[in-house]
Assembly symmetry: C2
Homo-oligomer: 210 residues x 2
Amino acid sequence: MGASSSTRDRILEASLGLFNADGPASVSTHRIAAEVGISPGNLHYHFRSKPLIVERLFIRFETQLQSSVDASMSVMAIDDLWLTLHLTFETVDAYRFVFRDIDQVMRGCPGLEERVKALTARCLAASKASCASLATAGVLSASESAVEMLAVQFVFGITCWYSFNRLMPRPSAHYGEAARGAYYCLSLLEPHVVGEARDYLNYLRAKYLR
Amino acid sequence: MGASSSTRDRILEASLGLFNADGPASVSTHRIAAEVGISPGNLHYHFRSKPLIVERLFIRFETQLQSSVDASMSVMAIDDLWLTLHLTFETVDAYRFVFRDIDQVMRGCPGLEERVKALTARCLAASKASCASLATAGVLSASESAVEMLAVQFVFGITCWYSFNRLMPRPSAHYGEAARGAYYCLSLLEPHVVGEARDYLNYLRAKYLR
DNA sequence: GTCTATATGCGGATAGAC
DNA sequence: GTCTATCCGCATATAGAC
């Protein structure tokens, strides 16, 4: 299980990098093998088909996103939320091919469609919980329907921000991708935030919006 | 030019339908030809390569979206905005493959990347203008930075709403797709809207949010 | 303009030696 | 586990007859 699982992992790692760069559909198994430095035959020994690679990567992503998002449910202050949002966006960034090329992913692995939707639904629930939590803590002044709306906007940001980002002026920016995504979500709170939490928001704006 | 351009148009129309359904990358020229009822060879007589079909469809989309979006710049009331948003989302819906499969589109037609970004930028400018216009008209109470943020959220919605929608519970819904997208954007105004415009928002909410 | 037939290449996947 | 060699199928695109 030593060298074997190592090769397996290298395949997954290389695939992740290539998928993130070009999308799963545009990455051939030959190219993955070349990237890893093994033969196409060997690759098929470890993964009998390409969708199995995608599926395995998705499972990793699913787990990681779930725990990022779970952490957000109990936030009591706006900088807690900032932290968990940052974590979440880093996860989405690390596996950005999943949401960006969601159609390719689903087409290749039909079984994944339901799981993606379920994952999205859990993100929505967690987002709602975190917003509601902030409202209870007095950080936000928002009606129930406003909280609902905020949660949808959060999930929209989490799932689609990177796609959107590519269409905007500053396209594939430098290091702060995750931070800028997280900042976008956080700034959605702006109309509802009360008290000194507002200062924190302004501090972040100066840093990430420009 | 009679029968000729008719076949050309039928090719474009069929391609649009198939692209919207499955994405350009998953639609072969054979399938387009079969859909139109002509031979693959004939299709290549009219369009020497598949990217040329994509490009032609994009140009149509570009023109149509531009005029939808231009119309929004001069809105003075919230129901004017509703109308133009609806129009905009109908256009995006009619050519939904463009933004949904933007990576495939750009990969196949490298020259389109800049034009997509330019189009997005013009959408942003128009959105900003329309929000600013509403603020001036007293429909919105929003600071300059809030208007900026709203405009970004609008463009985010216009470009990515349909992708997001597929991840959510009620996936590929029935007829009201464009209306629900437009409603999403409009409801982003909620925190800033003042006076009787709020009633209109509530009226729409009862209709589209459920 | 439209067809049939075909060239060409690539990507996924397998067989069998080492 | 890893390789080389190969098969198969599909998609783009072309050639040439009608």
